[in-house]
C-alpha cells in the first residue's frame, strides 16, 4: 500500500517535470544562455579597436560634427517637410480623383499612382534631374528646395493618395448623407465633413509615410545639388570619401534617428489613442 503510494507520487512528479509549462520555462532558460554566450564570444573575439577605427574614429566623429552637419540636418528636414506638404496636397487631389464619378479622372489617377509606386524613386529623381534639358525654360522656384520638394513629393503623392483614399472610404456613408440632407453641395460635404474625418483616420499611416520620406530624401543627391544643398547622406558620403573612412557616414546615419525616433514615438501614441477610442 505504501509502496504503491510512493510510485504514484514519483510518476506525478515526473509528469509535472514534463508539463508544457515546465518545458516552456526550460526552453526560455536555454535561449537566455545562448544569448549570453553570443555576447561573450563577441566581446572576446571582436577587435573593438579595429571596429572603431573603421566605423567611429573619434577624430573624424569630431570633424563630422561641424557646421556642415547642421546644414545637412536642416536640409534633410526642410526637404522632407516641403515634399510632405506637396505630396499631401497632390495625394489628396489624386485620392479624390480616384474616387470621382468622372471615369477619366479615375483612370488618370490610377495610372499615376501605379506608375510612381512601381518605378524606383531613384530613377524618377534621375529623370527629374534632366528635366531642364527635356523642357528648356521650365523653372521650379526656390531652387534647390523647390526642385527637391517637387521630385520627392511627386513620388510621395502616389503612396499618400492610396492611404488617403482608404481614409475617405473609411468615413461612413451616412456622414455624406447627413451633410447632403442639410443642403450642403457635394464639394462642401467633402471638404467640411469627409476630409476632416478621413485625415484623422489616416494620421498614423501618414506619419509613417513621413518617416519613409525622411529616409527617401537621401536619394535626392542624384539631382546634383551644390554643397549648400547637401542633405545628411550626401554630406556624410562626401566627407567619407575625402577622409577615406566610413565614420562620417555612420554619424550622418545616426542623425536620421534624431528625426525618425520621435516620429515613431508619436505614431505609437496616436495608435494607442485610436485603439482606446474604439
Amino acid at each position: 500500500m505504501t509502496a504503491s503510494a510512493t510510485t504514484t507520487a514519483q510518476s506525478a512528479a515526473a509528469k509535472r517535470k514534463n508539463s508544457p509549462r515546465q518545458r516552456a520555462i526550460r526552453r526560455r532558460r536555454i535561449q537566455y544562455i545562448l544569448l549570453g554566450v553570443a555576447v561573450v564570444l563577441l566581446i572576446v573575439f571582436a577587435d573593438g579597436g579595429q571596429i572603431q577605427r573603421v566605423f567611429l574614429r573619434p577624430d573624424l566623429v569630431a570633424r563630422t560634427l561641424g557646421p556642415g552637419l547642421l546644414i545637412a540636418l536642416k536640409n534633410t528636414i526642410v526637404y522632407t517637410i516641403g515634399a510632405f506638404i506637396f505630396g499631401l496636397a497632390m495625394g489628396t487631389v489624386l485620392a479624390l480623383m480616384r474616387l470621382s464619378s468622372v471615369a477619366p479622372y479615375r483612370w488618370l489617377s490610377s495610372i499615376y499612382i501605379e506608375f510612381f509606386r512601381g518605378v524606383p524613386a531613384i530613377i524618377v529623381f534621375m529623370a527629374f534631374g534632366l528635366l531642364p534639358l527635356a523642357i528648356p525654360g521650365a523653372i521650379i522656384p526656390f531652387d534647390p528646395y523647390g526642385t527637391v520638394w517637387v521630385a520627392l513629393g511627386l513620388v510621395a503623392a502616389a503612396y499618400m493618395a492610396e492611404t488617403i483614399r482608404a481614409g475617405i472610404q473609411a468615413v461612413p456613408k451616412g456622414q455624406v448623407e447627413a451633410a447632403r440632407s442639410l443642403g450642403m453641395p457635394a464639394g462642401m460635404a467633402t471638404q467640411r465633413i469627409v476630409l476632416p474625418q478621413a485625415f484623422r483616420i489616416v494620421t498614423p499611416p501618414l506619419t509613417n509615410e513621413l518617416i519613409l520620406l525622411v529616409k527617401d530624401s537621401s536619394l535626392v543627391y542624384v539631382l546634383g545639388l551644390a554643397a549648400s544643398g547637401y542633405e545628411l547622406t550626401k554630406y556624410g558620403r562626401e566627407l567619407a570619401s575625402t577622409t577615406s573612412n566610413l565614420t562620417p557616414l555612420v554619424v550622418a546615419g545616426l542623425c536620421y534617428l534624431l528625426i525618425t525616433l520621435p516620429l515613431t514615438a508619436v505614431v505609437k501614441r496616436m495608435e494607442a489613442k485610436a485603439k482606446k477610442a474604439r
Binding site: Q175, A178, L182, G183, M184, R192
Partner: protein, 290 residues
Amino acid sequence: MTETIPSGLRDDEIQIYDLHKSFGPVEVLKGISTIIRRGEVVCVIGPSGSGKSTLLRCVNLLEQPTKGRVFILNEEITDPDADVDELRTKMGMVFQQFNLFPHLTALENCTIAPIRVLKQDRKTAEATANENLVKVGLGDRGDAFPAQLSGGQQQRVAIARALSMNPELMLFDEPTSALDPELVGDVLSVMRDLAKSGLTMMVVTHEMAFAREVADRVIFMDGGVIVEEGPPDSVIGNPQQERTRIFLRRVLDPTHVNTGAEDEAYLQRHAADDVREDDEDWPVKGPERI
C-alpha cells in the same frame, strides 16, 4: 395612364406621384402616391423590407427614384433642373444611425449648415442652435462631442441639427430603432412636442403607440405599395386589410409567437398575387420590436 398633375394647393408640402424605385432587379417601390399637407404628421409603418425607408429617402432624393415625381412645397425635386440642395435646406432629416459629425461638437453640428449653407453669421446661428438644443433638453451639452453623448442624446442633437436649418418639414427615418429601449422615450417626447408645434412630419417608425397617439394619418406599406392608409384609429385600431392585421398582430402582441402557420395560410390565399412575387423579406421571421 393620364399624366398626374400636382394639385398646386399652397398647403401641399410633399406630393408623391407614382413613385418607383428599383435596386438592380429588385423593385422596392412599386408605384407610391400620396400627398402630405402642411402641419400634417404622417407615420409610415410596415414590415422591414417593405420600402418605407426607401420612400422617405426618395423624398429628399438621397435615393434617385427610378420613375415617378416628387414635389416639395410645389417644386418638383425630381426635375433634373431642380436645385436639390436648396430644396433640401427646407426639409430636415433625422437618421436611424444619428449620423452626427463626430469631429464637431453638438453646437457645431447644429451651426455648420446654417453658417456654410444659409450664410448666417456665427452669432445668429449659435443663438438658433442653442435654442434648439434647449428644446431637445440638451441646452447644457453644446460643448460635448457626439462620442461623449448617449445614443438618445445623440439622436436629440441630430433633431436639433435638423431644426436649426429652420425647415418647413421634417423627415424621420426610424429615429428610435438604434436606441436602447430605455432611451427611446426621450426622443419620442421631443418628437411629440414638435408634432404639437404644428411642424409637418413624415415619420418612418416601428413605434405603434407613438404613431397612434401623434399621427394625423398612418400609411401601412408592404411589398413596395401602400396597402392601407388613414387615421391611426382606423389603420392601427381597426385595420381593413388582412396584411395590416397580420403585421399589427405580430408587432403589437408581445406574447404572439409566429409559428409560420399564419404566413402559410396567407401565402396560400394569395398565391396568385403578383405583388408578393419577388419580395424575399416575406414572410418576416420573428416579431418586430415595438
